[in-house]
Subunit: 340 residues, 6 copies
């Protein structure tokens, strides 16, 4: 089985519990997460060989993150134990009309200070058939963006499928460059992109449009410019999220292969236990489906949407569900009957 390599930052996640506000919380639940790592966890849960490449400090906190990787069956052979600190994010979980809130404390992390040349990508990717990165790494620092581009270029040269989650985070991108300056040359190698049209246009410098995802016929026209700019692009997918409140979401999805638009039914999710990482769960389902596991494109999209829905029911960043559980939901069983 060829491995799938995802590359990015793994953060220590410190979250309040039981919907407490930061000022009420006397302790933080500690777990780990990060967009690209969350994707690797999904893939490992579906039985794939998933490796996560990152840089972590060689201290107790970095080591704990490695232990978590191992527990989750994500290969950690190319984790660089180096750098000063692990990135942290603090999460306050909202409810009803109160949004969740994230405080990032990830500047100066081992990944933010990553530099080109620190990884031997030819060696790392030699058994891989898929490379996944996201818009978070180039948002961390100029050197991290360069190091990410280096990896992409090697993957491209090696003929490996490349996927990208655009993952725009306005609280990042603070180092002096805009997404428009950095992302276009990185995205040109992508075969699969996850992101809504607005974000893609924004990052690629295309003028803003007003997509109506309910009008399927109108979408190809909006997606096509992206295929023009990203010449290797084969698939673009978008998570559709209708947010009634912090506790109530409706989730659907769109997949476009340059020719045909696929649309998944909208699912209700209420109550939301934890929505962080639900986009990554979608991405994990998408890669699982496209990486020769699910032939049918509609089914691939359905799988990604169902995985995304299930993620909302699980505390923490990653989607701790099996392929069977996702399939059960695709099959329409959302009744939640106790298995006994």
């Amino acid at each position: 089985m060829k491995k799938i390599v995802t590359f990015g930052e793994i953060l220590l996640r410190l979250s309040t519990e039981r919907h407490l506000r930061f000022s009420q919380s006397e302790s933080y639940k500690a777990t780990y997460g990060g967009g690209e790592f969350n994707v690797a966890v999904s893939l490992a849960n579906y039985g794939m060989s998933a490796e996560f490449v990152t840089r972590l400090p060689n201290n107790e906190l970095g080591i704990c993150a490695v232990k978590e990787m191992r527990k989750l069956n994500v290969v950690n052979n190319n984790v660089l134990l180096d750098g000063d600190r692990i990135g942290i994010y603090f999460l306050e979980t909202g409810a009803s009309s109160r949004a969740s809130n994230i405080v990032y404390d990830r500047a100066h992390s081992a990944m933010a200070t990553l530099e080109k040349g620190m990884f031997d990508w030819r060696e790392i990717l030699k058994d891989a058939n898929w490379f996944h990165w996201s818009g978070i790494t180039p948002a961390l620092s100029e050197s991290a963006a360069e190091a990410c581009l280096e990896a992409i270029e090697v993957a491209y040269e090696m003929g490996i499928t490349i996927s990208t989650d655009l993952n725009y985070r306005s609280k990042l991108w603070k180092y002096g460059k805009t997404p428009q300056e950095v992302m276009p040359k990185m995205l040109q190698y992508s075969n699969v992109i996850l992101g809504d049209i607005d974000t893609a246009n924004f990052m690629l410098g295309i003028p803003a449009v007003t997509p109506d995802y309910k009008e399927l016929d109108s979408l190809p026209e909006l997606y096509n410019p992206l295929f023009k700019l990203c010449q290797n692009l084969k698939y673009i997918a978008t998570t559709l999220r209708y947010s009634l409140s912090a506790s109530h979401q409706k989730i659907g999805g769109i997949l476009y292969d340059g020719q045909e638009i696929f649309k998944a039914d909208v699912n209700e999710v209420t109550p939301v236990i934890d929505r962080v990482g639900s986009g990554d769960a979608f991405m994990g389902g998408l890669i699982y489906g496209l990486n020769e596991k699910i032939v049918d494109k509609q089914r691939t999209l359905n799988f990604a949407v169902a995985a995304c829905c299930l993620k909302h029911t699980i505390a923490g960043d990653y989607n701790l569900v099996t392929e069977g559980e996702v399939e059960k939901l695709i099959g329409g069983d959302h009744t939640g009957l106790v298995s006994r």
Copy 2:
């Protein structure tokens, strides 16, 4: 006051908290439960004299279960302290589109190794006017089924009302006999049965039908064959459960006395705190109503449905509500206004 005797297994229940998956949980909430015991707790809460007859190992865990019985005011005079182990079940509580999951670890328990002759049923039942058992005990082992039949036959001879919750559990019934081989001769003594038509037909070997519980007029025809096979049957009741998700249920009920169909209005329950034991809460309400406490059959059914709804709001297996709280809900007060 004549006592009501329920007979079955009490399990140690180990559940994850805050919707954690098994693999995320570093601790388990420990409580106790089991279908027939849960019924006894309901009855004790309504002020009845309820006794639970079971077999438990004479170790610290068995003793803890006895202490819980005492706390809950369930008579434990005929608990046999014997056998090797207490049955355990592990519960992972779902949410939204993710179902709860139960892992049984109850094989070889004191109840599963119960044998005929271990209890002196004539003595136990001498002050009782009601005996309740469920389809779980005969599912545990052949000897447990025989021991259960022994109790039923004594109760029948003593002229005691007998009620049964069919409680089909597909993860049990592993000892070589099918429900169809075991249940018919046991059910023939029952005066009150709780179960849906499908399950009853399945257990009694009647061909499957397709009940539409919304068509009340069609139901007697479907229930009547059961009255034929179970010649002592006076009442059959069915919990109607429309499961929108693990967190959202709609609950109604049907009661048939061989002549007239009674139907209770459907109640919304959202969010669900814990649905395990909600059928037992219905059963508890039914026995409470039929045991001369509530003359009116419609009111009895309403009581059972309201008790079932309230159970969904309570963590753990048993329905910790008073008669007054059930009555308040029957009266239409579901507004949840704070009492102050």
Copy 3:
């Protein structure tokens, strides 16, 4: 900045967690609260100078309450450390069709045994432009009612705006006097009253009416008698609460200035994390708006309703939200998107 003085009792609040019933709970979450104190916290959170005047025992529990005041930035310069005990209330949090339940243990508290003359109100109020009290203090004891009236009269003489939350609590008022005997002379000084028409009529001895808050035009006729009896009254406001279940509320509001009726849109709140103190959050928003901070009356009402909604998402008695968070909700953003 002139300070706002609120006066009343701060209680130790001991609540069960995770919807446990009292009999299931092996520990109580300890925090503090009380109608008038909760108002002060809201005002401090909006950046106002808020002082809370109360009487607390000079023991470890009283001192802890003072520390909580300080943490929440509520001025405590005139807290009288005296008396025998801090009032306590025990809270069991309901869900769905099961209501929350409060057990008061506040008799003989330092506030219940308060007497006239214990505070030097002229000194306390010299830098204040607003004085807030509620119907709870006169419900505690005759001497507390007298002490409250003393404060009101001084505030009135000093030309300070006076607001009152009627806050009728049927479990209080046990000392031999009825609200009708006590409240009218206290309410005559109020410039702002929060309460529904029924409660106001009940407390003022006006015959009961049947308000239909959806018929705005019918309301002035019902409110006007209150303006007659309370000659200083300028505003009366009512929280509209449609309680679908303990977990699902719809919240709106009415404001009447003696001439014009203002109505705020109804907001959905589900799930409810904690509804205790939501009326106080409304009151806090009202004072914030009327105290020259928000010129527009409609906007003031919208602010009060939005604050009330947000309170339902926060554990504990007080509304830990900023002005910006309330404004965001007024602006229609109830989507609960994660801020990152």
Copy 4:
């Protein structure tokens, strides 16, 4: 088996955990306790028929206390559900050189407002052969002292053995009478007294002496005046406590039968998990031994001391140990080897 009746107050105990100070604690562990109730629990654990007589409010908190009694197998047939509130005590657990601290909030409790005539003692005591009370009840209020004396006098008339733990608490005795005014006439009926010589002399109005418990021969002379004043006295016992720190105690004991002095070896207890109730554990052992269970007086004393030591290792007020566990410690096995 004749029952042993103990009479007194059961309190809700709210304690900080993990040695937190009151001001650090966001929650309180809730359990129950009280000197005379703790004695009943010990006796029930040793297999005796133990009944606790008390008065509790008929609210959720009172009912929870009754459930705890049932769980602990203490008979609750004569609990009077009446009065306004349950007494509470708050406990901050110390360590090393920092002492534990108790804040009482028990004034106005159901027991403090108890009055003569509320219990039918002839009926209650008809199957009893032992009645136990302590110096706490007469310290609560004048009417409680009178109600206690009433019980004592009935017990005396019925020829029942009477035991008393002097239990002097300086934070009580606030109602206007001194121990010297109240206790002598109550103690004259006692057959067994637990207390050190200083406390006994203080309560009986005997001039202070300076006992040296290491000089056994000097003790009869000091104890004898107590036998004079308490003409029914047969045994007086004293717990010897050498307190090195809040975490390190040395425990011994003295028993005097009017003729011979018995002394138990001193045991080390470190670390102390919870020392509250350790005197009650001693009392429980003493009653167990003297009530015809242990013929040998030395062995009775050893049992009481060992029980007292074990109590220090158990969280909460009562001594959750079996007779076998106490016997094992008497036998010298303090090695704490794991039983497996």
Copy 5:
């Protein structure tokens, strides 16, 4: 690096926290452990390649145990997912003079029902240079004993070093055979045995002696008969444990190579956080030292003793310390100064 294979059962460990008794505990801390697995964890922590071979049920609980192995860096390539249940043990942690207590619930586990032929030992051991088993596996069942002997014989034929911890557990050995019938033929292949002389003599059927471990010169005479019966024996080691209380231990050790006695200094351990697994920590240190890592025998023994001491400070079954931490303690630094 050649791998070290340990073979045995991994149990789900459910323990009370904060020294609570079973009857006080509303939840259990869940972790994993088992003598031979604990040894593997120690070795992995010291940087060795450690594999654990076991049989676990293919359910959620078995999978969780595998995740724990992965997290701890113990190779799980030859875990057989099969059988009915995971063994469980319940632990109540004592303090001071109260011993910890273990309730085993491990009958019928996947390991207890293990049979000869289920593992391909030649394949498993092909890259190994060490095989470790303990006296627990043959105590589980006759078929487990046979399966263990099978593994030993293959290891012996392959020339792999074999170590054994005698680990006598009186609560096991219930299947009809005595240790004397089973152990001698299994121990004859052992090169390294950990156990005190009494246990070794008992298991091998040698008459009991009275060793005085302080008289070093007297020991060879007592150890030598074991070398006679176990012809492959090269080292026998004994943990010396002086148990002052459940919270205070003194730990030393003896190592004998057939010629020379080595003795390690006694270390104080107080307070004990968790003593379960401390013998396994000794065994882990011993294997680490003897497996060519530490030439010096005295130093090997010192390492084992220091590892054992450190284990007492760590909650759970396994010794989560690094080689560096053990070395620091050997070096005499027990001062516990904060590293900052």
Copy 6:
């Protein structure tokens, strides 16, 4: 009352609980602390007017730290809300022979990036009579060292008493300068220094000596060179710490006023709940005593030592004890008897 100003960093402290290792901990207890802040808390607890000057980020975490200051009654009028992040430290609490471990994550904090000129020290210190700083601030960064010197120089010019805790932390001082390059010119203004002779000599560049603190007569000779180099020095104090294990400390102290040596008796502390901040507790007692509160120097030293001992019994960084509690311990009452 003149205020005492302490200046330094307040960190978010994230600690494992119940002696768990980092890799075992699924949550972190969150509190705050920092050497100079801890001193301010002690002073506030003794009733002094204590202000803490620091720089904190203007985000939720910085605001939470300010709330904690308020709760603890430490004046926060001159907290600069600015900079990027709050410093964090992670604490793993040891036991017995296992030391506690700290992982610092404080680089790039608001205090580490502090620069000269950010505070208006003349304004801040105008009502102060004491200024306290420690060796931690100059260890953070060159600019922080400069900003600290600026404050010291202003304080000196204003004639304010200056105290310093040397607080050498080897894990800091990473910015390129050594203590010897930075500290001498800062320490020349100090009137009171806390630190052992070794550290003082090291920081001031004096050759190492071998102090024997038991030989009081030998000490002046060793302290005198420090008085020479620090010409404003009036007092130097040293905490004597004999560390038997992480759980068992012996604490004494030395005070030298340039003429006379004072020595406090050594106190046992076992078990240690939390030793972090115990030096700061000593410093807090010293300032309290020297700042005209305690005339007697011996008594001042005794107070500092007793405060230090008590700190070991309190979880968290700061010493939550009252003056009365310290005095009680000085008086010799270390028996830990329950106050009731």
